[in-house]
């Protein structure tokens, strides 16, 4: 009674909200690139927000359900289809057994999150389900999902009767996807320690020019292309800790942004840090897409994050209520 991978994707891994408490040993947190969407996908099916989900990149895996399941897809829109019929994102879907879930086209975004009610049955590594590719541990056998992999589903609900013989059924509620759309899609950053070491004109450039995400961008980090930035003076830096969202200035004047699989320490100038509330937007950028930055302060950064979390809590409350009503309606 499993979920079976019938065709592997380019990079599909099991992730949760990250593994914390081990960076002092060089073990980086990993976790979902888009933590917000991973939480949302879980909330839509009534899971705890931190449960493991499958993070999919396009082209994504094709999956076969050996038992009925309640699923949701959030984050990127890869034009998901069940047995060839399109299904929406951000909406819970009941899937009958012997269904095939495929992702047909990249419509929008870079990473989709598949949640399954009841969660995925697997062992934690260091208190987290996130796949750590370098350590080859965590998630499903410490590696990306491959053809013929099987994942046990741990739902205790028998969803079969709710389908009434249909191949799938869309539950009649959806999370609004555009609640935080902001004009210009700018990424807010807090100044990093070495921000003041940028020349005045480079500081302006960083905030005024449009950077492009290059193809050398992955779960470890994004490489940006733009007019090179310059420091007032060169100074060798010894390694210190870095963070998800840290903007590092490389010796060639280009920027990188550290992402979920970033190294724990680094020695490049930290000119800024993307605020937590904008990690989700950042994680959904594709190579070739433009990136613009604007400076913010701690008060604003914290306020935006708290708003985002409040929104998730509201969606969670609403989903739990609706799900309970839905489950009881059959009885």
């Amino acid at each position: 009674m499993n979920l079976r991978i019938i065709k592997s994707g380019i990079l599909d891994t099991v992730q949760d909200q990250g593994r914390y408490g081990w960076q002092h040993l060089g073990i980086n947190p990993a976790g979902a690139m888009d933590r917000f969407s991973a939480q949302l996908a879980n909330i839509l099916v009534g899971n705890d927000p931190g449960q493991p989900v499958i993070e999919l990149h396009f082209p994504a895996a094709s999956l076969f359900f050996e038992r009925p399941a309640l699923i949701a897809i959030s984050g990127a829109d890869f034009n998901a289809a069940l047995n060839g019929e399109d299904i929406p994102v951000d909406q819970p879907v009941l899937v009958n057994k012997y269904s095939i879930l495929q992702f047909q086209r990249l419509n929008k975004g870079a990473r989709a999150y598949l949640s399954i009610e009841g969660g995925l049955e697997m062992n934690q590594w260091l208190n987290s389900y996130s796949t750590h590719l370098k350590a080859a541990a965590g998630g499903h056998l410490g590696r990306p999902l491959q053809t013929d992999d099987e994942i046990r589903l741990s739902s205790s609900v028998n969803w079969g009767p709710y389908l009434k013989g249909k191949e799938f059924y869309l539950l009649p509620w959806q999370a609004s996807t555009d609640w935080e759309k902001q004009p210009g899609a700018e990424i807010n950053v807090l100044p990093g320690k070495e921000w003041v070491r940028l020349t005045e004109s480079s500081q302006k450039q960083l905030l005024q020019q449009t950077f492009t995400l290059t193809p050398q961008s992955d779960r470890m980090g994004y490489r940006l292309q733009g007019e090179p930035l310059q420091l007032e003076s060169k100074e060798e830096m010894i390694s210190t800790a870095v963070n998800f969202g840290t903007l590092q200035l490389l010796p060639n004047g280009q920027l990188t942004i550290l992402m979920a699989d970033h190294q724990t320490t680094g020695g490049y100038p930290r000119v800024g840090h993307v605020i937590s509330a904008h990690h989700s937007k950042l994680a959904q950028l594709l190579p070739g897409e433009p990136v613009r930055f604007s400076l913010t302060d701690h008060q604003q950064a914290e306020e935006l994050f708290i708003q985002q979390q409040k929104h998730l809590q509201q969606v969670r409350n609403a989903c739990q209520l609706k799900l309970e009503q839905f489950i009881h309606a059959l009885h």
Binding site: G21, G26, G142, I238, F244, T264, R270, A301
Partner: protein, 235 residues
């Protein structure tokens, strides 16, 4: 009994902050880092997710949501956490001794395992034996683990061994011992790397399924001993 070494605290985004004691590799600064590390481990700050000691800095990650619920009214989480950290630094007992674990790490310095050893010898106008002698004659401090799970940054080598990083990274096997500047280090996993590789240890520096995960931890003291190829195989 307050921290007399100058420091400053700066944000590492909105969910972490770093205490910096100076951009230097020094046992004294690292001692302070390890004392603060121990102190915060024993009594964590509210919402603290983890602490990362480095050469001369320490970074605290905190749960922004948790902290936002517990901060005093009218303060940002950043200001509040910063104040708490300052208070801890004020109360830090600098005199307290920290126990140091001494470890012996066997290394085979055969060019088969240390492909850059001949180059280093040529560059430094020394024999390979002299290089090995210099590398094994002193104790090193484990300053930090980073880069890869378990990658061990050690300092500092004899000045005569100092060697810049390679221009192009090459592929490095797990257990390889390298030199970069006056740092020496051990690759815990196979990885591309830019350090000059002079030998390899048969010990498993990192094992995802072992407790402890890493053979070495920040603050430890180690000494390398030279072993033969046969001894390497027997390990």
């Amino acid at each position: 009994m307050s921290c007399t070494i100058p420091y400053h605290i700066f944000p590492l985004g909105d969910s972490a902050m770093t205490v910096d004691f100076g951009n230097r590799i020094s046992p004294d600064l690292n001692n302070i880092v390890m004392k603060l590390y121990k102190e915060l481990n024993t009594s964590p700050l509210p919402g603290m997710k983890e602490i990362i000691p480095a050469y001369s800095s320490l970074t605290v990650h905190y749960d922004l949501l948790y902290c936002s619920h517990h901060r005093p009214a009218g303060k940002t989480v950043y200001d509040w956490m910063g104040e708490l950290l300052h208070l801890r630094l004020k109360a830090l007992d600098q005199e307290e001794m920290i126990s140091v674990t001494e470890m012996i790490i066997p290394v085979c310095y055969d060019p088969f395992f240390g492909p850059d050893l001949p180059l280093l010898a040529k560059e430094k106008n020394m024999s390979m034996e002299e290089i090995v002698h210099l590398h094994t004659s002193i104790s090193y401090r484990v300053y930090l683990l980073g880069f890869l799970p378990g990658f061990t940054y050690l300092g500092e080598t004899d000045e005569k061994l100092a060697m810049p990083r390679k221009m192009q990274p090459s592929s490095v096997s797990a257990g390889s011992v390298g030199i970069a500047g006056r740092q020496t280090g051990i690759y815990s996993l196979s990885s591309p790397g830019g350090w000059h590789i002079i030998g390899r240890t048969p010990l498993k520096i990192f094992d995802a399924n072992r407790d402890p995960l890493t053979l070495l931890k920040p603050g430890d003291s180690i000494k390398f001993v030279s072993i033969s190829k046969d001894e390497f195989k027997d390990h």
